[in-house]
């Protein structure tokens, strides 16, 4: 037991967290959100098998997520209406995965010959075609209404009916954990390593005996398997699959999650899925400008860091490992830098909120609630106030960022100094 904890501590901890979470958050809304997070963790990890591990930017990976969802919903309905034999609901995600795999193998073969922009464009083409087909092949996709289903079919071993959301929560968490572990293992295999190699330098890969097409194809197919698994979980969670699940928007969501969380290390997509699903569920009730902030966050991350948020955390790993006391000298510059960022953000967000308020308001009312204060958005004062916060904030950012970067570089230099023999 002790050995298990020592060797696989992270996984044991994740398992424990998974068991405990529903005891902390008991509301139906929270459980639904946790379920969604579980599904999207699997999907964004699958997406990152392409983007982060394999270097393939896809605008259409939701295709395999959505198609598997549709098949799962039809399968459940078939079981419920007795024209299909019974199949345990617990194992349906495997079925969804196989559907994803099937389509991934077919479409992957033609689209993975090249990476980069060609691959991105082909994926966009397939995504647009599939979206249009959801409206044309009505019997299967049922247009914009999608397919409804009922997950309460068949026998109920141990009283597990999958009626209450909590049952589905444990189902999703189980599969989420299994899929995450499986995808983690994949990164540690010859295939996983060569997938990274293809991302870094496809040309050289050909000269160490591997076909880049085969590796990409395999990565694509396996990734589609896990996307399909996530799609089946999605269908079970919502008991409904709609045409949104298949289109560009769903793929874009995964892209945002992966890139914001960080495509360069394994936990990045997990972080992204948790963060964005959480914010999407909660922030969109608070501010209309949520999508704008999401877009800006994405762009800022694309511009300034290739590793996403988790990359920002992990770039401090060597310092932590070598000597955490090195952080001492970084504290002050970091606090200043982060502090001025927050100040600038407060000012900018304030202005965005007022613009949004004025453009979407429904009455002549000009009193907006901004930062728990009532302000008159039509008067100059709050604008001046916001500008008065933004301007010094931005100025402070410009002054405090270089010392922040310096302190980091110095710490890294110190680490390198100690590592050298």
């Amino acid at each position: 037991m002790a050995g298990l904890v020592r060797r696989h501590g992270m996984w044991v901890a994740a398992f424990a967290v998974m068991l405990v979470l529903p005891w902390i958050f008991q509301t139906g809304f929270a459980i639904t959100m946790l379920n969604q997070i579980g599904v999207l963790i699997v999907f964004s990890l699958a997406y990152n098998m392409l983007l982060g591990q394999g270097g393939m930017l896809s605008f259409g990976h939701a295709l395999y997520f959505g198609i598997a969802g549709y098949f799962t919903a039809h399968f459940l309905n078939g079981v419920g209406e007795d024209w299909l034999p019974y199949f345990p609901v617990t194992l349906l995600p495997i079925f969804g995965g196989l559907i994803g795999l099937f389509f991934g193998i077919g479409i992957g073969f033609v689209s993975t010959r090249r990476a980069g922009t060609v691959f991105a464009m082909i994926s966009l083409g397939f995504a647009e075609m599939a979206t249009a087909l959801t409206l044309i092949l009505v019997v299967f996709f049922n247009g914009e209404e999608g397919i409804q289903t009922d997950r309460m079919v068949g026998p109920e071993p141990l009283g597990i009916t999958f009626g209450p959301d909590i049952h589905v929560y444990y189902l999703i968490s189980f599969w989420c954990l299994v899929a995450t572990a499986a995808m983690y293992v994949l990164t540690r295999t010859p295939f996983g390593r060569m997938s990274n190699a293809v991302r870094d330098n496809p040309e050289r890969v050909e000269f160490v005996g591997y076909s880049t097409h085969r590796i990409r194809w395999l990565a694509f197919a396996l990734s589609s398997f896990f996307a399909g698994l996530a799609g089946a979980l999605h269908a079970l969670n919502f008991e409904h699959v709609g045409f949104e699940t298949i289109g560009l928007e769903q793929s874009g969501l995964a892209l945002f999650m992966v890139w914001i969380g960080g495509a360069r290390n394994f936990v990045g997509p997990i972080l992204g899925a948790i963060l964005i699903t959480y914010l999407n569920s909660n922030l969109s009730d608070i501010t209309d400008a949520w999508y704008l902030y999401l877009g800006i966050l994405f762009m800022v991350i694309v511009m300034f860091t290739q590793g996403g948020l988790s990359g920002l955390v992990f770039m401090h790993e060597p310092i932590w490992k070598t000597d955490y006391r090195l952080f001492g000298r970084m504290m002050a510059p970091y606090a200043l830098g982060i502090g001025s960022t927050i100040i600038a953000a407060i000012g900018v967000i304030g202005m965005f909120e007022m613009i949004y308020f004025l453009s979407t308001r429904v009455t002549e009312e000009t009193i907006a609630v901004l930062y728990w204060m009532e302000v008159d958005a039509a008067s100059a004062l709050p604008w001046i106030a916001c500008a008065a916060i933004t301007a010094p904030g931005v100025a402070a950012c410009r002054r405090t960022y270089p010392p922040m970067a310096n302190s980091y570089n110095e710490a890294i230099a110190a680490v390198k100094g100690r590592m050298a023999p």
């Binding site: 033609v110 464009m121 082909i122 083409g125 075609m129 044309i136 892209l255």
Partner: protein, 315 residues
């Protein structure tokens, strides 16, 4: 026969509008290798600016100022947004423009609201120039046609005669050559990007009042423009022209002739009255498939000939 000529003419009108949009995109690609996902968003900005300006001082000033503003915004985006990303490679650039498209749509909604705005064709041009098969062709549609032809010719001269044009030509066949241009490469990049965006802006000014000006116009038109430049061959002006006309004409023909898939299926013994998924296939017509066809061609083209019809290098 007349239906054919008629459909081709209508396709020409629509195709030239697509060409106007695609020309800027293909120009940017040929110099910088960047596939600008947000290109249709600049088209949308052009339409909105034109709507705003024409409300104050009329359509013609709008036609001048809106593209100028869009061009300056585009140049600023290149200078302060795209350039820092350049070192991370083309995928990062594509990601950046993807995010940009998303943000522009949100900003447009923030400023002009979520419902369509009434951006109208100028009254003086909204009169029938001629009538054919019962359809009026307004002076404005002829103006659109003329404007797009003028843009094509101007671009052609620009690429063949100017220094920047020569650089663009060289860059197409030898992508590395631009790095050896010395100190002004940054400026050339910036203004080419701005110019490409301004072209999209012109298309927005001219097309926005015909297609309708609303926040989702970019996302519905954007992928089609990609289809045009990918099929035509990235970086090829001729290719963009041919592909745009091809898409426009194919769209019109498939609707005019409205062929059914049924005769083909009948060869395989499929009955007219069938149940289930086959029923959808039996009922398929080319008109119903028209919006899907461009993407089908896109995928086929990329699989069979990734450099497109007239392309000189792969995507």
């Amino acid at each position: 026969m007349e239906v054919l000529v008629f459909s081709i003419f209508n396709g020409l009108l629509y195709g030239m509008l697509l060409f106007m949009l695609a020309s800027g995109l293909t120009l940017i690609f040929s110099l910088m290798g960047v596939l600008n996902f947000a290109h249709a968003s600049f088209f949308m900005l052009g339409a909105y600016f034109a709507y705003q300006i024409s409300g104050f001082i009329g359509f013609w000033p709008g036609l001048v100022f809106a593209p100028l503003i869009v061009g300056v915004i585009g140049a600023a985006v290149e200078r302060y947004g795209l350039r820092p990303v350049h070192k991370f490679g083309h995928v990062a650039e594509l990601l950046f423009t993807f995010g940009l498209a998303f943000v522009i749509e949100e900003v447009v909604q923030m400023i002009w609201g979520k419902v369509p705005v009434p951006y109208d064709i100028p009254e003086t041009m909204n009169v029938a120039a001629f009538t054919w098969r019962g359809l009026d062709y307004s002076a404005y549609r002829l103006f659109m046609l003329g404007a797009s032809v003028a843009i094509f010719l101007a671009l052609f001269v620009f690429i063949a005669k100017t220094r920047t044009g020569l650089i663009i030509q060289a860059a197409l066949t030898h992508p590395n050559i631009v790095s050896s241009l010395g100190h002004d490469v940054g400026k050339i990049f910036m203004w080419t990007f701005g110019f490409g965006c301004a072209l999209a802006g012109v298309a927005g000014v001219i097309g926005g009042n015909v297609l309708g000006t609303e926040p989702s116009m970019a996302i519905t038109l954007g992928p089609i423009v990609f289809v045009v430049i990918v099929i035509g061959g990235l970086g090829s002006l001729w290719g963009a022209l041919i592909a745009a006309l091809f898409i426009g004409i194919m769209d019109n023909l498939s609707i005019s002739y409205d062929l059914s898939l049924y005769p083909v299926l009948a060869l395989f013994g499929v009955e007219r009255e069938v149940e289930g998924i086959m029923q959808d296939l039996v009922n398929l017509t080319t008109a119903g498939l028209a919006p899907v066809l461009p993407y089908l061609f896109l995928v086929l083209m990329l699989i069979l000939r990734p450099r497109g019809l007239f392309g000189t290098r792969d995507v």
